[in-house]
């Protein structure tokens, strides 16, 4: 049962991250998600200080506001300060992350937050961190509820806004010309990424959440040329990563979050080498056989 809860929580988180990650990869904004995942830290600490609990709506909203603020700052330094986009990302998130670290150590006594847990996650504790109602009923692991809620929210966001997300990602100028606000959809997506990151950090930590945001979509991108299929493949990959990651960690008695990200990396490498369309190995074999025929 313990394994089931961990795998379920891992899958929910990985699928949520992957679905949003598809759009980040296609918008060439993969590193922005890295920035957000770190920059939400001060938001998490402050929301925790104010609300005093880890699963409140306050926390999700507070952190997502910080995430949107981060993307705004990145844009601002880039467009107004004439700073290169990557330098602008680097300056913004390290600074916000550092603030988070300072607050975390400063308020360490008052806050039931562990720096190690925030950074690396502790998915192994999922089954013992139960949601218990005031009446005393045990409803199952708390993280599973949060991750499940986040996944439903993300699926609704993508299904309802599919057309707008698709168009603003592919051709922002045309989207603007027919009256779809690219800025609005940009910040909606960034808000969703921020909330998902916050909802996921307890499970996998602020650092490895980037692996779940980017590696499955990058893998799916190599396997298909259809956005809908890319989303479906990413979903399957999310579940596979969670299952294989758990058993890998169990067999070597290591970190589950680390094992999940490692599996994500291995799957990407496999797609890179063996993808029927883009695979490096397949291509070279194909080229050889053409040479032989000629």
């Amino acid at each position: 049962m313990e394994a089931f809860w961990i795998i379920l929580a891992g899958s929910l988180v990985a699928i949520s991250c992957g679905l949003l990650g598809c759009f980040l990869v296609l918008r060439k904004m993969a590193m922005v998600s890295d920035a957000i995942s770190h920059a939400v830290l001060p938001g998490i600490v402050f929301a925790f200080l104010i609300s005093g609990s880890r699963d409140s709506i306050v926390m999700l909203l507070g952190a997502s506001l910080i995430g949107i603020f981060t993307t705004f700052l990145i844009e601002f330094f880039h467009s107004k300060g004439k700073l290169q986009a990557d330098a602008s990302i680097g300056v913004t998130f390290t600074w916000l992350f550092a603030m988070g670290i300072i607050f975390l150590t400063l308020f360490a006594g008052q806050v039931d937050l562990d720096a190690d847990c925030v950074l690396h996650g502790e998915i192994a504790y999922v089954p013992i961190d139960l949601w218990i109602t005031q009446a005393g009923d045990i409803l199952g692991p708390r993280v599973v509820y949060i991750a499940g809620f986040m996944l439903i929210l993300n699926v609704i966001f993508i299904v309802v806004g599919y057309k707008e997300l698709f168009l603003t990602t592919f051709d922002p100028a045309f989207a603007g010309a027919i009256g779809i606000s690219t800025t609005l959809w940009h910040y909606l997506l960034m808000g969703a990424v921020s909330m998902t990151t916050v909802a996921s950090f307890e499970a996998v930590g602020a650092i490895l959440v980037v692996a779940l945001l980017i590696a499955p979509p990058a893998t799916a991108y190599l396997l298909t040329e259809d956005l809908k299929k890319m989303l479906i493949i990413t979903t399957i990959l999310g579940a596979v990563i969670s299952i294989a990651g758990y058993y890998l960690a169990a067999s070597i008695d290591g970190s589950i979050a680390g094992a999940m990200s490692a599996v994500a990396g291995v799957l990407f490498a496999a797609a890179f080498l063996f993808s029927p369309k883009e695979g490096v190995l397949i291509k070279s074999i194909r080229n050889k056989s053409i040479e032989v025929e000629a």
Binding site: K163, L167, A173
Partner: protein
């Protein structure tokens, strides 16, 4: 030579646009009649693309106003189509030809509604018009430059607009595609639709357009091609590039300009 017209479909008044305080367009003031095939012509960096981006409200303007069908863009957006430069999008994007053409229907669909069967039929019909119907399922990463441009044109047709703005539709396309596109644009103008095209090839320009806007940061001329495509005005537009200009004047003399096949 700036000819203002009665009942214009496009009216630009005192338009100034700048990037980082560097002016790109100065005090442009023009009007265009309906049912014309219009060319915006000028050297590199003259602000040709900037002009149509300003009309589509994609960049901020410093002064002036723009009216389409005597209204602001927001009120007539459904009647206006915009075709960006082909290179502005990532053609490795995971989408099929039909996916891209159906985007032309999004404006009419409105928020959150999905394309229906009728929209797909319109999209297929538009693909047929540009000679690409057999490519509808093809991934866009597998298209040639000319095919990409045809797909963009099909998407514009799917908008079923009355006014089309096209940014460099002939850049980097093969001769067959260029001919197919200009034939289609001519048909559209004959149906009283207005088509404005950013173009940089002077030689073909004299055969393609019935109305020309000569631009080099400021407006040099706007009017019927017969009165605007003169050596003095072209010289004024292109400044020092004299060798090119003498080529053009030779060409014009040889071809007994103006010259277009009768309908």
């Amino acid at each position: 030579m700036i000819e203002q017209v009665q009942n214009p479909v496009l009216e630009i008044h005192d338009l100034t646009v700048s990037y980082d305080k560097k002016p790109v367009l100065w005090d442009v003031d023009l009007s265009i009649p309906s049912g014309k095939l219009v060319g915006i012509i000028g050297p590199n960096g003259a602000g040709k693309s900037t002009l149509i981006k300003a009309v589509m409200d994609l960049i901020p303007t410093n002064s002036g106003y723009i009216k389409l069908f005597d209204q602001s863009l927001g009120e007539v957006r459904n009647r206006i189509s915009y075709v960006p430069q082909r290179e502005t999008v990532d053609w490795d994007f995971p989408a099929s030809v039909l996916d891209v053409v159906i985007m032309g229907r999004y404006g009419k669909l409105g928020l959150f509604k999905r394309p229906r069967k009728a929209d797909k039929e319109v999209a297929m019909e538009c693909l047929r018009k540009v000679g690409m119907e057999q490519f509808s399922k093809r991934q866009i990463s597998q298209l040639s430059g000319g095919q990409q441009q045809r797909v963009f044109l099909a998407r514009a047709l799917a908008q079923q607009a009355d006014f089309y703005f096209m940014d460099e539709p002939f850049a980097g396309v093969d001769a067959a595609t260029e001919k197919a596109i200009i034939t289609l644009l001519r048909e559209m103008a004959d149906q009283d639709k207005t088509v404005v095209v950013v173009h940089h090839d002077l030689q073909s320009a004299s055969n393609y357009f019935d109305w020309v806007i000569l631009l080099n940061m400021r407006l040099v001329a706007s009017g019927p091609i017969e009165s605007v495509f003169t050596q003095e005005l072209l010289q004024e537009t292109y400044g020092g590039k004299l060798t090119l200009l003498s080529d053009v004047s030779d060409l014009m003399r040889k071809e007994q300009y103006p010259h277009r096949e009768a309908k």
